[in-house]
Amino acid sequence: MEQIETVGDIIAAVTVDRDSVAGLPTIVARDEKERERIANYMARIFQAVVHDLENGTYLIVRH
């Protein structure tokens, strides 16, 4: 099978909705403020970008 070129790797998901993510390392935050804080820290730790899926979940992606 051909190697698909990826533009980035998903490090983790940070969410307030436990059920909306599957198959990824997930951190469940208690509320949106905590989600924001955790996502910020993770972005700094992994030198990654925070993307908002607008369904309660943030993705931490390394480009």
Partner: protein, 299 residues
């Protein structure tokens, strides 16, 4: 020293060529070279080129036919030097906050090679005129003329020559950063979006025709615009804040290109000027209007 080799034409040729190389060495718009080591090595190769150009005709006149072989050898050396420049620029590109990209680097390496050929031509003509005209002043004038001609020929076009560059506005549709309806990126963190709203600058580049549109489509060309803006105006990011990286995207319907950047000097005027003066890369230039299928396809 080769017996009988007339020193005056050779000397004049070397001087003319070296002066030409010095003038071409000005820290040009591309911010390179800046360090003394680079100056010296560029200058040294320039002197080599000047000497070769200056010595060829006098040597041939003295029936020293090996001079012709030297021309070939020197040509090969120039190509080797171009490869060296490319490797150097590519390896430092990996640690740049905003890289140049391979297309830009290739263009710079070629320009470097071309400058040496101009130097050789200047030296050649100067020594030729000195040799047969016996007038040193005329020789230098001839050399200067070739130098100026070479310089003019090597000037390429810029983005401002093929497109209208104007300010735009950064807008957010949810967490999507947009400029005039073109989505550039998804900025998840609220404070990151605030930062973009505060300090972000937006530029819209509208191509004037199909040639311009296809040239600007090239990712290498767009990366060059972003790199030049970052290099000259300073980019407001570090390695751990990639969400503030300058971005360029194109509008598929109109072919216009939008650029969003956060700079250390947040003035839209200088940013517009930098984008306008970004050189067009040889690898990116497209001219569909010069061929029939392209013209037929054009609206």
């Amino acid at each position: 020293m080769v017996p009988g080799l007339p020193w005056m034409p050779v000397f004049l040729g070397v001087v003319a060529g070296t002066v030409a190389r010095l003038m071409l060495l000005r820290v040009d718009y591309r911010q390179y070279p800046t360090y003394p080591e680079a100056y010296l090595s560029h200058l040294a190769i320039g002197v080599l080129a000047a000497f070769t150009g200056a010595a060829v005709l006098p040597a041939l006149q003295e029936h020293q036919w090996t001079a012709a072989t030297f021309l070939v050898l020197v040509g090969q050396q120039f190509t080797g030097v171009r490869d060296m420049e490319r490797r150097y620029l590519s390896s430092i590109d990996r640690v740049e906050l905003v890289p140049r990209g391979p297309a830009y680097i290739e263009g710079m390496a070629r320009a470097f090679e071309a400058r040496n050929y101009v130097v050789m031509a200047v030296a050649l003509l100067t020594s030729a005129v000195a040799l047969w005209g016996h007038n040193p002043f005329l020789a230098l004038v001839a050399g200067a003329a070739v130098g100026v001609a070479g310089f003019v020929v090597m000037q390429g076009k810029t983005v401002g020559d093929i497109a209208r560059v104007r300010p735009g506005r950064i807008e957010f549709e949810g967490s999507l950063l947009e400029i005039e309806g073109v989505v550039l990126m998804d900025v998840g963190l609220r404070e990151a979006r605030e930062k973009w709203r505060e300090r972000g600058l937006a530029v819209v580049v509208e191509p004037v025709d199909e040639n311009a549109r296809d040239t600007l489509a090239s990712p290498g060309q767009r990366q060059a615009m972003v790199h030049d803006a970052a290099a000259i105006l300073g980019v407001y990011i570090d390695v751990d804040s990639p969400e503030f990286t300058p971005l360029v995207r194109r509008d598929l319907r109109s072919g216009k290109v939008v650029l969003a950047a956060m700079l250390m000097e947040p003035d839209i005027g200088p940013l517009l000027e930098v984008v306008k003066r970004t050189p067009l890369l040889e690898a990116s230039v497209r001219r569909p209007n010069s061929v029939r299928p392209g013209r037929r396809a054009a609206d």
